[in-house]
Subunit: 197 residues, 2 copies
DNA sequence: GGTTTCATGTAACTAGTTACATGATTTA
DNA sequence: TAAATCATGTAACTAGTTACATGAAACC
């Protein structure tokens, strides 16, 4: 279904508090499933009520108390059930694609700047991923178990980001640079107006 | 922000009813932004109230009446504003990635089947896209304007689907086929139980 | 005579985001 | 002394999904 199972995967590896889970999500699983701490707390509560996880209060000195959750037997079987269950490939959403599709109705130079921005963002992420690949997985052929699974997800991230960067480059190469907002402005005069007022 | 602007792009090309927009979304923009008719009707209503579009009732015989929406001046400037405005690259979500990350806690054979299913789905979509590419855009170098923009979005779809198929192949090549559910079952005995009951 | 197409909607729900709040401790 | 880190939450909101409802016409 969503966050629940991502949390189950993370907690199966090692138990942790909501805060820790939020931090872990910055890496690894977070490439493909991110969440804010607010949502994580809410979902953890629900999972606790459903009996998938059990929270144990841990008192700390020097820092605030926390609630450490572990996966219960019911949680483990739920995770196994969900992994085996066929799921739909979720619809992908790209605002940038919508913007490109609507390029004729906006400022060309601004759109090129947007595409460049996205290209850079994705390129940066890609570099981070490649660094992780080099550092943490120098010998992929030797991997097995969770290490291998982590690596495969990372490979997915690298493929996605590479694809995105190349797509942005293709757009920039194809979209004419000069002539700003030509379409949008020239069309404004002869348009039959309706409503609005 | 989302659907609003996708609808503005679609309505800018040509006016249409909610029903028609839902059908159009099956193609083109729908590669990267899909929506159900219920949501489309709701958003159209809101856009009408905001003055971005104007609806005109059209009586038909032989089939139900419909409301045809056109983009107003305010709608056009909103679209132009949004295209120029920098936006965040939206978080991508892949249930399959979460499943792969949790492979140690589920049935290996079932997961392989899932990955294969996704691979096939994406491969099918890819074939559809390639067909469109061949049929509708035989000479990409000659394109300009909306035709070019449509083509670029299609190229994005092709890249994404190609990347996904290749990723699935990489997973299938790396994930050992035999030994079903080894991890999940062997772990079930020595686990310290908490909660649940 | 049954399904698909055209056409629009309501109601209830699930998921996710944004803003705000608190308060001690450690680091710059 | 200001900011970041640790830690948990509430409240209000936006976006999106699922289920249900209606009804005529065209297609098989």
């Amino acid at each position: 279904m969503g966050l629940e199972h991502a949390l189950l995967v993370s907690l199966s590896e090692r138990s942790g508090s909501g805060y820790e889970l939020a931090r872990r999500f910055d890496k690894s699983i977070g490439f493909f499933w991110n969440a804010t701490h607010q949502q994580i707390y809410r979902v953890l509560k629900r999972m606790d009520e459903a009996g998938w996880i059990a929270g144990e209060a841990v008192t700390q000195d020097g820092r605030p108390d926390k609630k450490v959750y572990s996966v219960s037997r019911a949680g483990r079987s739920e995770l196994a059930r969900w992994i085996a269950e066929p799921s739909e490939p979720g619809a992908l959403r790209s605002e940038l694609a919508v913007k490109v599709r609507g390029a004729a109705h906006g400022d060309h130079a601004a759109l090129r700047a947007e595409v460049t921005r996205h290209r850079d963002r994705h390129h940066k992420r890609l570099e981070v991923y490649r660094l992780i690949e080099k550092k943490d997985f120098p010998d992929p052929a030797a991997l097995s178990g969770t290490g291998l699974h982590q690596y495969l997800v990372l490979r997915g991230g690298i493929r996605v980001e590479t694809g995105f960067v190349e797509w942005c480059d293709e757009i920039l190469a194809a979209l004419p640079p000069g002539r700003e907002a030509a379409a949008a402005h020239s069309r404004r005069d002869q348009s039959p107006e309706k409503g609005t007022r």
